[in-house]
């Protein structure tokens, strides 16, 4: 692998007091793996008041980091954690995708056609910058203990937790965890220690992935080509990143030699055709194949898998790291609630159910995209080529062209939701993250809905306008209250439109900003029942 990447951040190993105790120290939560997913989980838990130990086998970030596309939902989660604005300011914002056949534009798609969302459809940002922002934030949290050069070498499941053996520069030590979160990636050590099967489909096609440094004024769009003249017979993908870095992805076919293809002169020969007269420097090159697979279960007693340790997809669609961060958010509030005695034990089961549903959706999209890009046989290729050749002439065929369906959050079919008693239109969905909406604060300052949520159970109540249609929800035990019309003003009417809001309507929001119940009028008893249900009590 060519790696002349400059931005690598180093951190110091520090000996922990847990390495010197006579008895094995016990911690409520240990997270293994300080990638984006493990960091997000650890930060979320720590900010919910749960002390967390986060261990990582390395002492640096920036190497082997491949993710670049961060989706709107991920940015909303990161904004709740406190780093969203920093990342958006740093990243390259985009929302347009273009698909070419040969060198002709076939169609373009807009991933966020409506206004009034705080976060963009996507930003592109090198994964190490995102990790750096999360590490900076983690280091500010006094109840988050981040331990570099702590490598998991042993894992023993127990009824009430897990016993870890951790290797350090000072030798190994043991640590007990009430709960272990395995965020240690596609080659998860934790998964191997538990002997879990990681079954699915491996695609034989090989892809060249290259980051190049280049001053170019190509558009800030996702551009995908089927059979371009500059890379005959295969597909190509180009993305812009900050620092004049461009990501180029070239399909090489099943017979490519991964070692030979990484030789700089071979890479340059391919890239020269793509980039034509633009001078460029190679920053990072890799050749990969990919898998679509998942664990049968994500929850194994007190050991819980998140991110790539639990599931893997192909990169087309940006569904890997984004879905991992969504795993982290789904688990964090549930585990915090269980540790505080607020949530029933079935709440952890709901992580399994909801995130397996999301993983299957991601694997389904990813598999279908890959089948379209890399047909398995001549007969399948004929069908694919027929779609591409009809596409300029027929809308239905354009809709079948699949260069990757980009990450959107799953809509959970979940027992945590209270079914609607009355119909609701709009874009808000039970079991989905709330759609954002532009609002004003009572002092007139412009704001957005999601940044006003407090990361706990919360009811959004639409002011009744004085009509005697039941009382406004005064203090309801442990549930935050936001009144549209008092606390937040819907001058543009976008909240009303997206939530199909009517005077007196009430919306119960989970700590992960997902809608779990709604009513046309406020009823404190129904609200409490819905909250109990969402906590699996």
């Amino acid at each position: 692998m060519t790696n002349i990447r400059k931005s690598v951040y180093r951190y110091d190993y520090r000996r922990s007091a847990d390495q010197d105790t006579a008895a094995v120290a016990r911690r409520p939560v240990v997270v293994v793996g300080a990638g984006p997913v493990g960091l997000a989980a650890a930060i979320d838990l720590a900010q919910r008041g749960v002390p967390v130990v986060l261990i990582d086998d390395a002492d640096r970030i920036g190497e082997g980091s491949r993710g670049i596309c961060w989706s709107k939902r991920t940015l909303e989660i990161l904004d709740r954690l406190g780093v969203g604005e920093r990342l958006v300011a740093h990243g390259v914002t985009w929302k347009l995708g273009k698909v070419f056949v040969g060198d002709e534009l076939l169609y373009s798609f807009d991933l966020l056609p409506e206004e009034g969302h705080k976060m963009p459809a996507f930003i592109n940002l090198q994964q190490f910058y995102l990790e750096k922002a999360l590490v900076d934030h983690a280091l500010e949290l006094s109840n988050l203990d981040l331990r570099w050069k702590n490598r998991l070498i042993g894992l023993e499941r127990r009824n009430d937790g897990a016993r870890l053996t951790i290797e350090t520069p000072d030798g190994p030590y043991r640590l007990d965890a009430d709960w272990l979160i395995a965020a240690d990636g596609a080659r998860s050590t934790a998964r191997r220690h538990l002997g879990l099967d990681f079954a699915g489909v491996t695609f034989e096609d090989k892809f060249l992935i290259a980051d190049v440094h280049m001053a170019a004024d190509f558009p800030t769009e996702r551009r995908f080509w089927f059979a371009p003249t500059f890379h005959s017979g295969q597909s190509a993908l180009m993305h812009r990143q900050p620092d004049d870095i461009w990501r180029i992805d070239l399909q090489l076919g099943p017979d490519a030699d991964p070692v030979a293809e990484q030789a700089p002169e071979r890479v340059r020969a391919r890239l020269d055709k793509v980039l034509k007269d633009h001078p460029y420097e190679l920053e990072w090159v890799s050749v990969y194949t990919f898998n679509c697979r998942r664990l049968e279960r994500f929850v194994h007693g007190r050991v819980i898998f998140i991110g790539d340790a639990a599931h893997q997809v192909s990169p087309f669609g940006a569904r890997g790291a984004n879905s991992g961060i969504q795993d982290a958010e789904n688990l964090a509030w549930k585990l915090a609630a269980v540790l505080k005695g607020e949530g029933g034990s079935a709440l952890i089961e709901s992580y399994d159910l909801e995130r397996i549903q999301a993983a299957d959706e991601n694997i389904g999209h990813s598999t279908r995209s890959t089948d379209f890009m890399s047909p398995h046989s001549n007969a399948e290729r004929r069908l694919r080529d027929a779609v591409l050749s009809l596409a300029p002439h027929a809308e239905f065929a354009r809709r079948m062209v699949n260069s990757g369906r980009l990450s959107v959050p799953a809509i959970y079919e979940t027992p945590l939701s209270t079914p609607d008693a009355a119909p609701f239109a709009g874009t808000a969905r039970l079991g989905a993250p709330l759609p954002d909406a532009p609002l004003r604060r009572a002092d007139g300052a412009p704001t957005h809905l999601l940044e006003n949520l407090r990361g706990q159970f919360e009811v959004i109540y639409v002011k009744n306008g004085g009509a005697a249609k039941g009382p406004a929800p005064a203090a309801v035990d442990g549930i935050a209250l936001t009144v549209i019309g008092d606390d937040l003003l819907d001058e543009e009417g976008k909240f009303t439109e997206r939530f199909d809001a009517t005077p007196g309507a009430a919306y119960l929001v989970r700590p992960d900003q997902h809608l779990c119940a709604r009513w046309r009028s406020f009823d404190a008893a129904a609200l409490m029942r819905a909250r109990e249900r969402a906590l699996a009590r």
Partner: protein, 64 residues
């Protein structure tokens, strides 16, 4: 319940068959295969019903 119509619907079935024959009369095997593939896609979309499509696939594969 079957949704796929297998009763004859063309007023003149011979003429419909003839149109399909003429479409491929001068074509090579590869070009005819391409034509058929496009026709499948166009007609499948025109029907627009995934249940009918599944039944049609089953019938074509000899598993009605």
């Amino acid at each position: 319940m079957a949704k796929l119509v297998t009763a004859s619907q063309f007023p003149d079935p011979d003429a419909a068959y003839r149109a399909l024959v003429e479409a491929r009369r001068t074509l090579s095997e590869a070009d005819a295969a391409e034509l058929d593939t496009k026709l499948v896609l166009i007609l499948a979309n025109h029907i627009g019903d995934p249940d009918v499509l599944r039944e049609a696939i089953a019938l074509a594969k000899g598993k009605p």
